[in-house]
Amino acid sequence: MRIEEHPILTFERGKELTFYLDGEEMKGYEGETIQAAIHANKVKLLGYSSELKRPRGFYCAIGNCSSCMMTVDGVANVKTCTTLLKEGMRVETQKDKGVLR
């Protein structure tokens, strides 16, 4: 799901990184957000709403709406649309409100 050819833009991608979504190994690039990397791996579902447990994806991609929150390296409610991907990150689909550690 990556754009390989574009009439106007060229994408200079950073170093390839490995991360894990619910335990499954995936690849992304340095300099991109967690959500962009997940999306490039063809996954749209990022979590569930806390009350009605409805599936959630991203909506605004610039940190306004909080629809993309996931648990990252054990920390709940991370806005994945503005947080950068790091090598070895463990990202989990968030199923409830999350707790402070």
Binding site: M1, R2, I3, E5, H6, P7, I8, L9, F11, R13, E32, T33, A36, H39, A40, K44, L45, L46, S49, R54, P55, R56, G57, F58, Y59, C60, A61, I62, G63, N64, C65, S67, C81, T82, L84
Partner: protein
């Protein structure tokens, strides 16, 4: 506590231009930008801008921030730019709190503030509108043009204003199929040039149509689209199903005014300016002394107008902080003239009606 004479919140076109004119007036300036790069909405606009030459018409939006940053370079230590830094609150005593990265909190005590936080995308109410795959059109633009990732394979675009049309075209440039563009209004809202490009590519633009339901279990698989009558009621029996894995919602933006509301600035609902906006005077100052506004945060318009408003707010704000620019009156008159020219057309007349409701005669 960090000191700065002028603090600018938001590093989009409005904030950057406010910085230019505040620095030119002699004030020291700090810009806080929550993103990792400056430029606001411009960083994803790959199309040629319209407007007038002073505001870089016929440049691509993505190339404009560099031009503005070049104007800022010569000020050296008088300017501090903090990216990945979100302003969190403006307090009664004028202190502004900011979050650097994820955990470092910093306080500022500026003499004057320009809030230029821009806007956020509106959502649309219909059954299952929260399914993953239903995204803001600007969000899809960020995903594609900043990160080089496709949102999906088949996109239904809801909204035929300029953003809906431009993002539809950019989706095609990225190699994504657009199944249709629809709009509830009986007429296309965006410019003809953009609409023609899309039609030429064979994508239908359906006016007087809306989406009533999204289909899918965990992610979007399709949508039910209906025709609407002139009173915007759905016409029974016109349901059609479109297969799509992405739906873009492009039904307008609304000012991002939380900081101003919390700061106790007087707020007003002005439909022509697309939502709740801070009341201001002709010098771009809100009801709170020393807090100024510019750009989309005080009414949704265009980057061209946001830049000119930024220059104006920067001049007034610096003057408030004790740095009245040389030829102040002349500069203000020039810039106000540019704004009047930009607002000369029919959409400008609409904005001017809103501004009239919102701007106090000193």
């Amino acid at each position: 506590m960090r000191e700065t004479e002028v603090l600018i919140i938001g590093g989009g076109p409005a904030g950057l231009c406010a910085a230019v004119s505040a620095l030119e007036s002699g004030a020291s300036v700090t810009i806080l930008e929550r993103n990792r790069r400056l430029g606001g909405q411009l960083v994803k606009q790959t199309h040629m801008f319209f407007g007038s030459k002073e505001q870089y018409a016929s440049f691509r939006g993505i190339d404009i921030p560099a031009i503005l940053l070049e104007k800022l370079e010569k000020y050296g230590d008088k300017l501090r730019v903090e990216t990945d830094c979100t302003a969190l609150g403006i307090y009664e005593d004028g202190v502004v709190t900011a979050l650097f990265g994820e955990e470092r909190y910093v306080k500022y005590l500026p003499k004057a503030i320009v809030v230029a936080t821009g806007a956020s995308e509106k959502a649309l109410a219909f059954e299952n509108n929260d399914l993953p795959g239903i995204y803001g059109a600007g969000a899809v633009q960020t995903l594609m043009n900043v990160y080089g990732v496709k949102p999906g394979n088949k996109v239904l675009m809801v909204g035929a204003g300029n953003i809906g049309l431009i993002v539809s075209y950019q989706l095609m440039q990225a190699g994504v199929e657009v199944v249709a563009v629809l709009d509830a209004a009986p007429k296309i809202g965006g410019y003809c040039v953009h609409a023609s490009k899309i039609r030429r590519a064979g994508v239908p633009i359906l006016v007087s149509h809306t989406v009533t339901r999204a289909l899918g279990d965990k992610t979007l698989e399709g949508a039910i689209v209906c025709e609407m009558d002139e009173k915007f009621n759905v016409i029974e029996g016109t349901e059609k199903r479109y297969d799509c894995d992405v739906m873009c919602i492009s039904v307008g933006l609304t000012p991002l005014t939380e900081l101003l509301g919390m700061a106790g600035c007087e707020m007003k609902y002005v439909p022509e300016l697309s939502g709740i906006v801070p009341a201001r005077n002709k010098a771009y100052m809100t009801s709170r002394d020393g807090i100024f506004v510019a750009g989309d945060v005080s009414g949704i318009e265009e980057a061209s107008a946001a830049m000119v408003e930024g220059y104006l707010a920067g001049l007034h704000c610096a003057a408030y902080a004790g740095y009245k620019s040389e030829n102040f009156a002349q500069k203000v008159e020039d810039l106000e003239g540019q704004l009047a020219k930009l607002r000369g057309g029919p959409s400008g007349a609409h904005i001017l009606r809103g501004i009239q409701k919102n701007v106090k005669e000193d």
